[in-house]
Structure formats: C-alpha cells, structure tokens
C-alpha cells in the first residue's frame, strides 16, 4: 500500500444503504473513513463513495438536505466519486423514470433494476482488466446497468453479451455490482489509487 492510500480521507454517503460495509473495507485498506450525512461533512473528505441502497431514498434525502449542489461542486473540482449499484444510479446523468433527484455527475445512462427483481439477483465472476487477470466476484442485487457512455467514459467491465457493468470517467467510477459485500478488496484499492487533490 502506498503512503498516499494510507492517508486518504474517504467519506461514505450514509443516508441509507450498505454504507457500513464500504467503511469497513476502506478502513481495512488504511483510509480514514467517515460517514457523510450533511453537506458540511463533504468538507472533511478527499474522496466519496455512494453505497448500495435504494436510489429513490438516497436521492430524495440527498436533495432535501442540500447535499447535491455541494457534491456537484466538489466533483467538478476533481474529487474522486464512486457509486456502487444505487450509487451508480445516483451519480449518473440520465436515469429513465427515476422518481427522485439524482446528482447528475457522470456522463452515462443508467437503467434501474435492469436484470429484474430480487429473484433475478445473482453472483457471477467478472473479467475486470484494470484489476488484473484474476476474476472479480460480482454480486448483483436488483442491479442497474450502464447503457450509454459519453465520449470520455471508458467501460471497465462488461458481461459476455456486452452489457456494461463498470465504467470510469476521469475521477468518477460507477459499478452495477457490490465489491463491498465480498472479501476482494481490489476495487476499493483501485478507487484509492485515483489521484486526489
């Protein structure tokens, strides 16, 4: 682990969802993890993870408590942001039919519940070249998929049928699945490796 990752102050948006799992992984990797529930908490961090959860709940509460404008400002000035599942929906620019506000950070279209309902939730090992040759354990729970990528967005992983399930645009990351529910820390390590100001 580099000195840089050790000192990272990483926030996890803690309005609803599996924020504790993210926090535990980040702390295991030596980052200073903190929970973000108010706009002013964003002042104390250098990077932010938006966890899995219910995107409508997260979007509504984030909007109501004024987190979205501050987050947009921080992301525009280069703060790394990673959204997993509901988090990917929250940071997307376009989400068809979403009933609550989203942060509109990343130039992607994300489709909710793209594989179906809970009974269609699944595990599958994934090829993610940026993380090396060893397959990554993919946990998909009522997961979204990334259906359209802007010109600066790079697909990091796709299913055999071409469906994009992980993407990066500069310092922004979106994943359909939940690395925080597995014992594989590589995706969190990768996020901590993104340069911070």
């Amino acid at each position: 682990m580099t000195a840089r990752t050790t000192k990272a102050r990483v926030g996890v948006l803690a309005l609803q969802g599996d924020f504790r799992e993210h926090l535990e992984v980040l702390r295991a990797l030596g980052a200073t993890g903190s929970l973000v529930r108010r706009p002013e908490h964003l002042d104390l961090i250098d990077a932010l993870v938006i966890p899995g959860g219910e995107s409508t709940t997260i979007g509504k509460l984030a909007f109501q408590y004024g987190i979205i404008p501050k987050l947009r400002e921080r992301a525009a000035s280069g703060m790394p942001v990673w959204g997993t599942c509901a988090g990917a929906i929250f940071i997307a620019r376009r989400v068809p039919g979403h009933p609550h506000p989203i942060a509109d950070l990343m130039d992607v279209t994300v489709v909710r519940n793209a594989f179906g309902r809970q009974q269609e939730s699944f595990e599958l090992d994934l090829a993610i070249p940026s993380l090396g040759a060893v397959p990554f354990p993919g946990v998909f729970i009522r997961s979204p998929t990334i259906t359209a990528l802007g010109p600066n967005v790079v697909a990091m992983s796709s299913l055999p049928d071409g469906t994009v399930i992980a993407a990066r645009e500069g310092r922004l990351l979106a994943t359909s699945f939940h690395p925080e529910l597995t014992r594989d820390l590589r995706f969190h390590e990768y996020f901590l490796g993104i340069p911070r100001d």
Partner: protein
C-alpha cells in the same frame, strides 16, 4: 446458512438465490423505512416519502386486529398492482409455516417474504424451510434464541415482533433489547457455555460461535411493531435496530404523507435530536394506539411462533 463463502469457487455462469444476494439485499435496505401499504396509491405515497421498500398487504395490522377471524396471504391481484405501481422493492407476508403461500409469493415475483405472526399461523410445529427458496425471507423474533432459529432455517433478515397494530412501542423495545442483550451475554461464555447456549436455543453451535465472536447477528436486524412517531423510529435505531418497519402507524394517522416522510428522516438522522424535533412538529394526530394491558393474552400477535 450464514457462514460464507467458499472463496475458491468459480462462478462462470450467473447463480441466483445465493446467501450473499439474499442477505445482501437486506443490507441495501439498512437505515431505511419499510412501510405497510394496502393499495397502489398508498405505495406511491410511501415511495414519494422515501420508503426503501413497501409491504403489500390487504389490511394493516390494526385492522386485522379489529376484524378478527383468520388472516391469510393477500390477494395476488393486489400484490401485483403494488409491484406495478412502484420501483422500490415489494415485500409480502405469508402465514407462519405456510410454505405453499410462500411458493405463491415467490411465483408472483415479490422481492422479500415476511413469514409473519401478524397473519394467523398455519403450522404449530414448523416454520417455513426458508433456505430452499430463491426469494429471501424476513422473520420476527422476541429474543436471541428465536432469531437464531429463524436464521438457521434460512431467514436472511430479522425484525423484532413488537406488538403489531397497537401503535405501542413497548414490545418492540423489549424484543430489541432482549436480542442485543442476548448477543452481549454470549461474549462472556466459554466453549462449554456456548455449547450449552446452542443446545438451549436449539441451533447449530457454529451459528452461536459466530454471533458470540462478531457480537452481531449474521443478518440485518430491523425494528417492527408499534412505531407511530419519528421519535419512536429514532429510539429503535439508538437501541440497535438497523432500520424500521412501520405498519399501521403511517396510514392510520391524520396526515400519512407527512408522517411517512418524517419517520424516514428520523430513521436516517436518528442521532440528531434537533432534526427529529423539527420533523415531529405539527404532524397532526398519530394513530390512536392500544395499551398492551388492554389486549387479552390470547390476542397478542407476538406470542405466535416460537
């Protein structure tokens, strides 16, 4: 079963219904509020208020209480109507031990099944063998042993039983305290004591050892039964619940949309008393409520199941 996973396995094809996706879904609900709704209109109100899921049922517990008779699984038409109306997860209840109702709910495609004491139990000896289903289950418990028995049967999420339909939080407090106290008590036990506890609880020793070591259940624990106000929601979160089910408390109040929203906010910001005060202000009348002593022992729902 809770202990997971075999790290060397390779999943070249998608596998559904794994423990990780079942118990993982409950983790996604954490910090949220799951609301009882009886039609599509209420489901929309719940979704707009920020509910993380809804429980579709024909009658809320307070009406089940008033109506008496046998309470069964809801009409599939009504459940499907709610599934079509909202994008958030939809749960539905089956009777304790009624695995055929559970099969029907799974066939309908609900996201979670609540094997619930609020309905009239169907089997006096066995709960549903939940591990064999693709759909995950949530179950109620009054104390640690009961919670562990349900988890050993495959429940992927737990909740307190409380005393549903009363608007009275006292039973939920008792149950959440009994569960968390039970977990703490395990920490003090040696190997022999843990074996004795497993025998007493009638669950596998490995499960008791895991809970003693982790000092928490291997699944998410919500509060259910009696929440009527934002302060109730905050109380239960501070006592160790990871989220709240609200049944009659919302749609039996004078301003359901506003109360629903207030309870969602109080659940997220449960440590922020100023915020809980602010969302509690001018909410209108809460549901009427029933003192526990006023309910004959034979009519207490929490006593159902074992």
């Amino acid at each position: 079963m809770p202990s997971r996973p075999a790290p060397t396995r390779v999943l070249a094809q998608p596998v559904t219904g794994t423990w990780l996706v079942k118990a993982g879904h409950a983790k996604m609900l954490r910090g949220g509020v799951i609301m009882d709704v009886i039609n599509a209109e209420q489901a929309k109100i719940a979704e707009d208020a920020g509910a993380c899921a809804v429980m579709a049922l024909e009658r809320v517990p307070s009406d089940i209480r008033t109506a008496g008779g046998v309470a069964r699984m809801s009409d599939p038409e009504m459940i499907i109507g709610i599934m079509k109306a909202v994008t958030i997860p939809v749960m539905a209840k089956c009777r304790i031990g009624h695995f055929a109702e559970a099969q029907v709910l799974q066939a309908l495609g609900v996201d979670y099944i609540d094997e619930s004491e609020v309905l009239t139990p169907a089997d006096e000896r066995y709960h549903v063998e939940k591990g064999t289903f693709t759909v995950p289950f949530v179950c109620g418990a009054r104390e640690l042993g009961e919670a562990l028995r349900r988890i050993a049967e495959g429940a992927a999420m737990m909740r307190s039983k409380g005393e549903a339909g009363t608007g009275n939080i006292v039973e939920a407090v008792r149950h959440i305290r009994a569960i968390t106290d039970g977990i703490r008590a395990l920490a003090a036990l040696d190997a022999k004591g843990l074996a004795k506890a497993a025998k007493e609880y009638r669950v596998p020793l490995a499960l008791v050892r895991q809970v003693a070591k982790d000092q928490k259940l291997p699944v998410v624990l919500f509060c259910a039964g009696g929440i009527a106000t934002p302060a109730d929601a905050s109380l239960m979160m501070q006592l160790g619940a990871e989220g709240n089910f609200v049944g009659s408390g919302i749609f039996k109040s004078s301003d359901p949309a506003r109360r629903a929203k207030a309870i969602v906010e109080a659940t997220t910001h449960f440590m922020d008393a100023k915020l809980v005060a602010s969302v509690s202000t001018g909410l209108g009348e809460a549901m009427r409520g029933i003192a526990l002593e006023a309910i004959p022992a034979g009519e207490r729902l929490a006593a159902r199941g074992w």
